[in-house]
Amino acid sequence: MTKKTVTTLSIATVYAFILCAIFLYAVVTVQSEKAEVISLRTTKAEQLQKEVSARTIANTVTLTEAVRKEMGSYFLTEKDTISFIADIEKLAAVIGVKIETTNLAMVAASSTPSSLQTGFSVQGSRPAVLRFMKALETLPYHNRLPKLTVERSAENLWQGQVEVVVTIMPTV
């Protein structure tokens, strides 16, 4: 090999190494940029999804305002409990039965909404007692009647026991 050939070969080798280094640097840079792009796109997609979800919920909230108001009227709030009892007593007076509140307790649970547990002892004629029970059955509140008994206690006098559990809507 002549000296000129060695020089040319050396320069070519150096150039090759430099080009390889640049190529590797470019590959590593592109890979890191790709990771950043993926992260940014994921964030953007999540934000977009949240935005769509929030918009949908906002629309739902707006569209269901009347329904929610109506549904809200079918749930007792904590401050309505006294008026609820008064309402039941008034109902008893209207129907014509004697009523006695045997149980009144507010039950709070962590997993379920709190509820108002009430118990009533009813006395009156058979139709009146049945009517009162029917009225309790159709109370326009989210409730259940875990116990309901009616029996005749005397001539033309019937007695009933009923327990009503009304769901209390949590105040927001």
């Binding site: 919920i57 329904v67 159709t138 326009p140």
Partner: protein
């Protein structure tokens, strides 16, 4: 062609064929061809590598994590069914209560004077308005009116 000439020809031919051929140290055509082939190979390999690398960089899918997204919990059909159920219950309740209110309006002044007269009036009122009540209440009303148990109404 005589025998000597023929022998001379074969001798020359065989001598030439047995001769050791020495390659030329630099052949421009050969070197250029080799260089071009290698260049084409490098370019093709680099192109393929770049193509696959480009696609590995460009084509990726974003996987979304649903934990941060609040799903719309509103189910219109369920809410409509529940609303309708509560409406029906409310109507039934108001019917029972309304009837009782009507009765009381009539009963209250009459009962103070005469229970019998008041009861008759009450029964009439019930019979006129039983169309909105349940069958159970109707049967109770009928039985009470027929058996003479009228004070409750």
């Amino acid at each position: 062609m005589n025998k000597n000439n023929l022998k001379k020809f074969f001798t020359r031919s065989s001598h030439k064929s047995n001769r050791l051929t020495v390659p030329e140290p630099i052949n421009a055509n050969r070197e250029w061809s080799l260089g071009l082939v290698m260049t084409v190979l490098f370019v093709c390999a680099g192109g393929l590598m770049s193509y696959f690398f480009y696609h590995s960089v460009v084509s990726f899918s974003v996987s979304l994590n649903d934990s941060g997204v609040v799903r719309n919990p509103y189910v219109a059909t369920t809410v409509d069914e529940a609303t309708e159920l509560f409406r029906q219950r409310n109507e039934a309740y108001q019917a029972i209560r309304g009837k009782a209110d009507d009765l009381v309006e009539i009963v209250t002044p009459v009962v103070e004077e005469s229970t019998v007269v008041g009861s008759e009036i009450i029964i009439d009122e019930i019979n006129q308005s039983t169309s909105t009540t349940t069958e159970e209440v109707e049967s109770v009303a009928a039985s009470s009116s027929s058996s003479g148990i009228q004070s409750a109404w």
